[in-house]
């Protein structure tokens, strides 16, 4: 059930009505939201609802044990936390990385002269598994560090299953959402106004910009780079940068908007990432819920951040980004993408340290251009089917001709539009919401209806799944 479809629209209308009708009892409200979330998830595959419930039980039980042992030794509490985190990693590892690691092991054994038949099997990847396991691990780490008290089973299960963020984030931490579950929420005009704006804006970015660029330009060029000209390859690289932003940020916007209409506040996940002046700045603006998760729980929590010297800090940065790359999927192209980001982040730190006193800083616009093009090269590896395909793509940019068969005026306009929205005032949506909240219901209803009608008239036939569903 994809957000920009009529199936989801009808599902949401039913949930919106029933949940607010049950607002008198917070417990019943949460139970209804939980059931709705399972129906939403079960629309992909009912079998994985059991996995979701099992995962919630694991994290709830581990957190209870940590809390029960709060007077016991730190080593014991840490051991329980590590066992819980390992449980989450095993779930993630089995479903997401089993095939990849068995394949790599087979290659290594073959190279060493030990030809063995390893137990290969086709494992179906449950949608959103990377998101809900990361949520579970951060919940355990927060309870262990006593930043958060353990929550009731219902609340933990709803935290991990809540349908707006379930399949593609944002990774909403327990510390953000669990306190909101403690009492019945209130729907204000402010929340409804900004929620509706985010939903309609997300719908436009996904159904019009991302889908049009994907189908008309990016997919055909990345499918066979050798058959396309230099101009096509360059356009497809820029097109993909805009597509992935409009696709993923659209999902986040819609998730935040849907949660707001249900009375909950989700964190910001994107903040005009392509206006970043450095890669460090980029990661403060792109997929903020993942980058802050990696920073807090992996880079600082597990690896020690900058506490063990400068060299170790650079290694930690590299490790964090390599694992961040692997989080996206079991492919070497993701590892290379992570390595590129980690390497440049480390180089930025080194340059900050060795930069001579008074050495002029790059003009802002140059910093933005350099950062964007490093990110662009990373996206080619991220999007390519294989390492060889990425290299063929990059070689093609240097060698092929300039005649274009797939670049259209519309694609050019959409690429320019996708870049231009990064340089508008950052709080444009909020300013619009301040005006919209003053309108009578009938006027705003008509305005929302007309906008959705325009988007629907422009949308590409059929909606492809969001890029981040596969992660």
């Amino acid at each position: 059930m994809l957000f920009p479809t009529l199936s989801f629209g009808l599902f949401f209308l039913v949930v919106f009505t029933i949940v607010w009708a049950a607002n008198g009892s917070n417990e019943w409200r949460k139970i209804l939201l939980l059931v709705a979330s399972w129906v939403f998830y079960g629309a992909w595959d009912w079998r994985f609802v059991a996995l979701l419930i099992g995962s919630a039980l694991l994290n709830w039980g581990s957190a209870e044990l940590i809390w029960y042992n709060r007077e016991a030794s730190a080593a014991r509490r840490r051991a329980i936390m590590i066992a819980g985190v390992t449980g989450n990693l095993l779930i993630l590892g089995f479903f997401k990385y089993y095939g990849f690691f068995v394949e790599q092991l087979g290659d290594i054994l073959h190279a060493a002269g030990y030809a063995r038949d390893l137990p290969l099997m086709q494992v179906v990847l449950p949608v959103g598994i990377s998101f809900f396991t990361f949520q579970g691990m951060s919940y355990l780490a927060d309870v262990h560090a006593e930043r958060l008290a353990p929550a009731k089973l219902l609340d933990v299960t709803l935290l991990m299953s809540f349908f707006p963020h379930l399949v593609a984030g944002p990774i909403v931490r327990g510390s953000d959402l669990l306190p909101q579950f403690e009492e019945s929420p209130r729907l204000t005009r402010d929340m409804a106004s900004i929620g509706l704006i985010l939903i309609v804006w997300g719908l436009f970015k996904k159904a019009v910009v991302a889908s049009e660029l994907s189908t008309g330009l990016v997919d055909p060029v990345f499918f066979d780079p050798a058959a396309h000209s230099r101009l096509d390859l360059i356009a497809a690289a820029y097109g993909y940068a805009v597509q992935i932003y409009c696709d993923f940020s659209a999902y986040s916007d819609m998730a935040i908007g849907i949660a707001a209409l249900l009375g909950y506040r989700f964190p910001l996940n994107f903040n005009q990432p392509y206006r970043a002046q450095s890669l460090q700045d980029f990661w403060r603006r792109w997929h903020i819920s993942l980058s802050s998760w990696l920073r807090d729980y992996l880079y600082i929590g597990a690896l020690g951040g900058s506490r063990r010297g400068f060299a170790r800090q650079c290694i930690n940065l590299m490790l964090t980004m390599l694992l961040g790359g692997l989080w996206h999927g079991a492919k070497w192209t993701f590892v290379i993408w992570g390595g590129l980001h980690g390497g440049v982040l480390a180089l930025e730190r080194i340059w900050d340290r060795i930069r001579p006193e008074g050495f002029p800083r790059l003009p802002r616009v140059v910093g933005i251009l350099i950062t964007f093009h490093i990110v662009l090269v990373g996206w080619i590896f991220f999007r390519a089917e294989s390492f060889d395909a990425a290299i063929a793509f990059l070689r093609g940019i240097g060698t092929a001709g300039v005649a274009s068969d797939v670049l259209t005026p519309l694609a050019c306009v959409l690429i320019l539009f996708g870049m231009a929205i990064h340089f508008t005032p950052a709080n444009l949506g909020q300013r619009l919401a301040l005006q919209v909240r003053l309108l009578p219901a009938w006027a705003l209803g008509l305005l929302v209806g007309i906008t959705i009608l325009i988007v629907d008239a422009m949308r590409f036939e059929g909606v492809a799944p969001f890029i981040y569903y596969q992660f």
């Binding site: 209409l261 989700f266 910001l268 001709g401 005026p409 519309l410 219901a441 009608l453 629907d456």
Partner: protein, 108 residues
Amino acid sequence: MPQDTPSPIDLPEPELDEAGLGWSFGVVLIASLFLLCANAVSLRDWIDDQPPSSAQQQAAEWADEWVDTSEGLGIGLPRKAMHDQWKRVEEKRFPGAGQKERAESPGE
């Protein structure tokens, strides 16, 4: 609500005092009714995509009738006009585009 983490939900001015639930229901209801009238084609396409059953067939017949009615009344025409215009924009090509394909095809 915790305010430690920034959220796009936070508006830069104080919250309005007026209750929002009834107002929000009104907005959602009006938008849904408007789309039901002006975008009957999407509803028909969605029903046509559902797994076949007697209920689906009945719903598909009603949806066809509703599309005819809305087009007869003229309320479905703005969407059709916008869609046709968008298709024309999609089909626009730069001058000379596609020449490579033609040059490589010996049959032409």
